[in-house]
Amino acid sequence: MVNPLTLTAKEIAQQVSSGSLSALDVVELYLDRIRRLNPKINAFITVAEEQARRAAEEVDKAVKKGFRGRLLGVPIAVKDVISTKGIETTCASKILRGYVPPYDATVVKRLKAEGAIVIGKTNMDEFAMGSSTELSAYGPTRNPWSLDRVTGGSSGGSGAATSARMAPTSLGSDTGGSVRCPASFCGIVGLKPTYGVVSRYGLISYACSLEQIGPMTVDVEDCALLMEVISGRDGFDSTLIDYEFRWSYEGVKGLRIAVPKEFFSEGTDERVLESVWRVIKLLESNGAVYEEVSLPLSRYALAAYYIIAMSEASSNLARYDGIRYGMPYDPSLPWHEAFSKVRGEGFGLEVKRRIILGTFALSAGYYGRYYLKALKLRAMIRDQVLSLLKRFDVIATPTTPFPPFKLGEKIEDPLSLYMADIDTVVANLAGVPAISIPAGLVDGLPVGAQFMANYCREDVLLTVAKCVQDETHFDKLVPGVAKA
């Protein structure tokens, strides 16, 4: 029998393809793990048991008829912000409870076309607004490495599901770090692609100018495989650019690494810094060179990020009024009262906070002072990042300023929670790709190193990740709970 603790997506596809494993066997294997582990971890909002079995049977039938795909029989855990036809998609919000999309997101359609199987929908912070996956209407997800700690967020369910091998791979979405932060906290690889290379069609918008869907995997080559499948134009997302994903690993010799001092300052946990430095030195020992530099505008990134994200969110979330889908409205009320009631009861506190702040930032008289100013700042930050990337191949930083914290520790203080994004938002503002890879354990808890690269240079990021994986075997790190 196969060992799910070491099995990669690529291997599953190969074995299903060769007939040594059936897709149904694979699905049953992971459904069984979910059954045992999910009650402790709460990584899934919906386990698509029936749909996954049916899909596996379809795949097995097709395989017999000669069908081949790059993800044949590979179960994928999909963040509950991504639309899945026929599977409830809630964004971890009460307001969307019961909403079953009539269509698949482009990424889901593409995964299915390669034979992948949606095994469930993963937990998250409501509408992807949060950095800990505590702000879910379905309860917090627990970190497989320490069940009293957070997974990071907002794609914490995908991070935990992958880390605990309840699925070999998963998809998250990253608006300000929502793929990379939980990847870092859960000890896996998380890639936020260049803005405009993965279709957002079907991704339920939080802040549309910032976010991308990204793979979250144990293995770097699986990450590349998913990128290969999900990227490229689709005729539905106007912000997509011409892009073809290509990557072949040839080592890091001569790779130029920028190490911006602002990300290595006092605000960051020393043990995290040590871990990141270890990764940088390791790359150096493999032939890369690094230089300490400065990215001075990064100190304004968090402020610019939150203004832009909240402003867009205030508009994106306006559609949830109960009259077309999701939480039902009271038809006996005048329409504006019915809307208010649904929104008052359906949205969680943090979502309401961001809608209100965003509405304020876009209001007449404040638009110039906040939103426009944030856009200008964003352009300046992007220019600074790009000018650095003229001289360097990658920029190395910690993924988060601290290791996974305790559940409830920061929940009363939104500002300290927002600080979790301080190192990640720069990539979203600049639109450049960024990856988080495991940088080791601090007191038994995973921490991540982040690398950013130039537009469409996901290949460079994967090369860095592959080198570190080969040296440290971070893909063999399995949390204790998952071994049981």
Partner: protein
């Protein structure tokens, strides 16, 4: 209205009826007469995760309009979100334009009672149509409101004028010219219900600007303006203040009703639509569209005068409705007597259209059939008077004129022999008149009239006169009388 300085500005919303699909999705735009909510998809329904994808043909159509209105074209146009809650908006924001619209600074020349005047165009921009609210019976007594999203996402072109019109008649002339331009461009068919709607700004010297919304047809604009001028003038006469406010046109009662005061004006929180990229409009594209522009009403009027020797007035009546002008030109090309053909179209046909409240398009016959009718007149087969009657029957039944003439026994009686029979009958029945006519030539006309009546006006009046005169002369000769 003399002595009062009135300033009127218009905002006209015109559906791009030439498109087969909606503005941001691939749903059919043919919504009239369809069951509710059938022409919908995730995008126009605003389902979570859906994205707008621009229909490039809509831009081309709007560009035609902007060029025809002599506007300056922005080389880069940007879509904005106009945020407000309303049940007919599936996303609770409308994709519209704000800064960087498609075009600015144009003009249109109108003609009122032979006086030419230039109306400046402030801007031409594109936006999406909201859905339709459907009530049971009257809006204020309906127990519920239904929403039909078939119309949601239809491409609209908004034309905004400067406040250059000084009377309802000028506003009407502008709207007629605009409609004719749109029809000549074949962008928008103004005869379709709800395809052209208007908001109006009006101020009278000494008052303030009042906006009237929801005028659902161009025809009602003149009425709404006349009402509003009367209302404001009465207020000013009584020394009362005209409040700066938005009013609603109640087409059933024919009055305007206060909707909201200036202080309650909506803050639409416009911001650039992040899901759409700015649209580059190249010089090449502009030139391509400009060179494809068809003949516009002003040029056509000049040509009609020149080519067919029509009066300026006749040309204006024809071009006010493209279909009417097309009908005329086709008729003239077949029948070949432009002055007569024009008279038939603008006097007879237009009167019938107005009387029956139908459009040229609704006619069940073509210019060819009208030409056939006129040939029958030319050949003396039917009288001019009969021809008018046949035309009416053609409008009512769509039958061919020959068939109508045959079925109803309409022909021209010009054989002397046949007319003599009728003359004999009349002379028998009107002996007194015959006696009088023998004595007095003037009475001959009365007898001719009687004969014509007897033939149901089918007899040739000239021949009839000749026959009657000849008989009277014979009677005089019989009695040895010389001519009276």
């Amino acid at each position: 209205m003399s002595g009062l300085q009135v300033k009127i500005g218009l905002e006209c919303h015109c559906q791009v009826t030439s498109l087969k699909t909606k503005m941001f999705c691939r749903c059919s735009s043919d919504y009239r007469g369809k069951p509710p909510n059938v022409n919908v998809c995730p995008t126009c329904l605003g389902l979570p995760g859906s994205l707008p994808y621009l229909n490039r043909r809509a831009v081309e159509e709007a560009l035609k309009v902007a060029l025809a209105l002599n506007c300056k074209i922005n080389r880069k146009m940007v879509f904005y979100r106009k945020n407000y809650f309303y049940p007919d908006l599936s996303k609770n924001f409308q994709i519209s334009q704000y800064d960087f619209p498609l075009a600015v600074d144009g003009y249109v020349t109108i003609n009122v009672n032979g006086r030419e005047k230039t109306i400046r165009i402030r801007r031409v921009h594109m936006e999406e149509d909201p859905g339709r609210l459907v009530y049971k019976g009257r809006i204020d007594t309906s127990p519920y409101t239904l929403v039909d999203y078939n119309r949601m996402g239809i491409a609209l072109i908004e034309v905004v004028t400067e406040p250059d019109m000084e009377s309802p008649a000028e506003a009407k002339a502008f709207l007629e010219e605009l409609r004719s331009i749109l029809e000549h461009l074949e962008v928008s068919d103004g005869s379709l219900e709800g395809s052209m709607r208007c908001d109006v700004n009006i101020s009278i010297a000494g008052g303030t600007r009042v906006e009237i919304k929801n005028i659902s047809s161009f025809k009602d604009v003149e009425k709404a303006l006349a009402y509003e001028i009367m209302r404001q003038r009465n207020l000013l006469r009584m020394g009362r203040e005209v409040k700066r406010e938005t009013r609603h046109w109640d087409e059933v009662r024919g009055i305007t009703v206060a909707l909201r005061a200036k202080e309650e004006e909506m803050d639409y929180r416009y911001f650039p639509e992040p899901d759409l990229v700015p649209v580059e409009i190249s010089d090449d594209f502009i030139e391509k569209v400009r060179s494809s522009l068809p003949e516009l009403p002003s040029a056509r009027r000049a040509r009609l005068v020149e080519q067919y020797n029509l009066t300026e007035y006749e040309a204006r009546v024809l071009t006010a409705d493209k279909q009417l002008a097309d009908f005329f030109e086709k008729l003239a090309s077949i029948h070949g007597k432009p002055k007569v053909d024009c008279s038939v179209v603008i006097n007879e046909l237009l009167r019938l259209l107005n009387e029956k409240n139908i459009e040229v398009r609704d006619l069940k016959f073509t210019p060819k059939e009208v030409a056939d009718l006129l040939f029958m007149v030319d050949e003396g087969v039917v009288s001019w008077k009969s021809a008018k009657y046949i035309l009416r029957r053609m409008v009512e039944t769509g039958e061919h004129p020959k068939k109508i003439a045959e079925a109803e026994g309409i022909r021209r009686i010009s054989s002397v022999e046949e007319i003599e029979k009728f003359v004999s009958k009349v002379f028998e029945e009107h002996k007194g008149d015959v006696e009088a006519a023998i004595k007095d030539d003037k009475v001959i006309h009365r007898l001719v009239g009687e004969v014509l009546k007897e033939t149901r006006m089918l007899a040739d009046p000239k021949i009839t006169f000749q026959v009657v005169s000849k008989r009277i002369r014979e009677l005089r000769a019989e009695r040895g009388l010389a001519s009276a």
